[in-house]
């Protein structure tokens, strides 16, 4: 594997910020060789992608003869944020996934994302791995902009995830990595799974199988090994229900994550430690699969508690 720097900036006191890429490629390149880029760590508090890329890098090291295409790994886009437990770009407090496409003459976060987009440009496929944030736990899922779904949905189905969420185009999301790369012609998928500041090993291994499965089907690797490809739920055939906290307090879960639930099941309670009272009990507004559940217990009115994918509103 070849490791290169795609961006660097000397820091003020005896340190250099570098964003690194690892590249696997076959010994001999064919003219029509395919290229896939795997990106993670755009948010410094999201670590699940680091583990997936470790697993993938490890697999590729042990299976160099299987490599037919170019596989570029960008495990830590916000390297400084990851090492300092900072979601945004440190000091600037900028969400890098709202700073694309950036430019060479932008402020520093904009320069960094520009360097990433320029480096990934030309890839056939890109996968941007996120792990929610410190507040919510997500089952492995793919998020797809409806605008690009004709080209990205077939790929998403191969990624061994549990849920594919196709959402409408939103202008503000045009500043994301995935929108920028899709606009540039790279079929880009966003994976959300797990929870911030944690490694969920079972999810990491699940996504590894999906990535290998996708790469095999695209001819980027060639192997007799079979990889799991589970059938995901798709938001095309149902609705997503949101449960937000009606009050401030401490959220206490009553349900296991990723459970199939029935309408009216108790998801949890909002309690007040001082008085010992329950402010609110939260019930499922729909039957279906609970794919998002709050992990961080402190809530305000409006804090997202859970998301359920269920039958459409009309049938509920």
């Amino acid at each position: 594997m070849q490791i290169t720097e795609i961006f660097s900036s000397q820091l003020p006191v005896g340190e250099k910020l570098t964003i690194k890429k690892g590249r696997f490629e076959p010994k001999e390149r064919k003219p029509d060789i395919k290229r896939i880029s795997i990106v993670s760590g755009t948010h410094g508090d999201e670590l699940e992608g680091q583990y997936v890329i470790y697993l993938l890098s490890s697999w590729l090291r042990e299976n160099t003869d299987a490599i037919n295409g170019i596989i570029d790994l960008y495990p830590a886009v916000n390297a400084l944020g990851i090492d300092t437990i900072t979601r945004g770009f440190p000091i600037y407090e900028v969400d890098l996934n709202r700073a694309f496409p950036g430019s060479k003459h932008d402020y520093l976060p904009g320069q960094l994302v520009h360097a990433l987009a320029e480096d990934v440009k030309g890839s056939d496929i890109a996968i941007d791995i996120h792990s929610s944030n410190i507040f919510l736990k997500e089952i492995p899922q793919i998020r797809i902009n409806k605008e690009f779904s004709p080209s990205t949905l077939p790929l998403a189905k191969k990624l061994n995830c549990d849920f594919i969420w196709i959402h409408d185009a939103v202008t503000v999301l045009e500043a994301t990595f995935s929108h920028t790369m899709n606009e540039m012609g790279t079929k880009t998928l966003v994976v959300e799974m797990g929870v911030g500041m944690t490694l969920t090993q079972v999810y990491g291994k699940q996504l590894l199988s999906g990535i290998l499965n996708l790469m095999k089907s695209e001819g980027i690797i060639s192997t007799d090994e079979e990889f799991e490809q589970r059938e995901p739920f798709s938001s095309e055939v149902g609705d997503v229900f949101y449960i937000n906290s009606p009050s401030a307090g401490l959220f206490v879960q009553s349900i296991t994550h990723c459970a199939i639930i029935k309408k009216g099941d108790v998801i949890g309670t909002i309690v007040d430690p001082l008085s010992g009272k329950i402010h609110d009990t939260l019930y499922a507004p729909s039957g279906g699969i609970l794919f998002t559940l709050r992990e961080f217990p402190v809530v305000y009115e409006g804090s997202l508690i859970a998301r359920i994918f269920g039958e459409s509103h009309e049938n509920n």
Binding site: S8, S9, Q10, L11, P12, V13, G14, L17, R87, G88, I91, Y92, E93, V94, R98, H105, D106, Y107, L108, Q111, N133, F135, T171, V172, L173, E174, A175, Y242, N244, S247, A248, G249, L250, D272, V298, V299, Y300, E301, G302, S303, L304
Partner: protein, 311 residues
Amino acid sequence: MKTIEILRIDSLNRSPLIVEGYLFEGSDPTAPSVAIVGAMEGETILPLYTASKLVDFLRHSLDDESKIVGNILVIPSVNHYALNINQRFWPLDKTDINTMFPGYGEGETTQRIAKKLFNALQGYTHGIILETREGISTCIPYIKLFESGYEDIESAKTFGYRLIHHKSLKPTDTVSLQYNWQLWGTKAYSIICPSDTNIDLHTSNEVFERIINFLSKNEIIEYKTISGYHSTIIKNSDIEVIQTVKSGIFIPTKKVGSTIKKDEMIGKIIHSLEGKVTHRIFSPCDGLIACVYKNGLIFENAVAFRVIKSG
């Protein structure tokens, strides 16, 4: 003057966040009206100070209540929770309220705050938002006006600020208060204030006096003011971005607001461990220093100055 509750959010352990507005009802119901929003973020001391000073001015400095002709609503702070702990964004999830508009009443906490605030801001002729720049820089006070198709440059000129940045719209701007307020029919303007954490009386007076000038020129108050600048409209192409090629200790040798000549030294970088000058920054053009990086330590390639080109 009436004090009105704009919104209330409870907390597990903190006092409730109660956002209040100060409504000054004008003597002429048909006159133009204005709503002014102060600190939506923490670390925005000048917006807070300016808005609170305006409340005091409207209450105590006009000798006759009838001199308030049009309705004026002032909301000095929206984000007390961030201000009180010196954080920039909403303290729990670090979201920026000014990226949540027009808001959503059934959504996340800051979407709900934005929705309630936005509801209270409807129906005004003019809307003024007091902001600071994103990133690590401070600036001279100026007007930021998005190229939304709904903006009113002529009205913006009546503040009398030196510069109006007529700014091309980025995707993230579409969820700002200014853009959505314009869409909903209010002539909205952002006053970008210096992001200093201490009050500089000279600068803060300038920000304040330009607002009074605006209120007077638009016949919202009867008050004789001294006109400000004949504003210069600038586009992104009028701005020279000057990056530093070295990291280290940053010493600007020219202050924000200075007019400068091409090849004039405007800053230098000192090696942070050895003390020697590693880089001198020279202006590539004649112009005005509109923004300057505000920290003492600077990264390589960071933007050190933004200069409005002249000549």
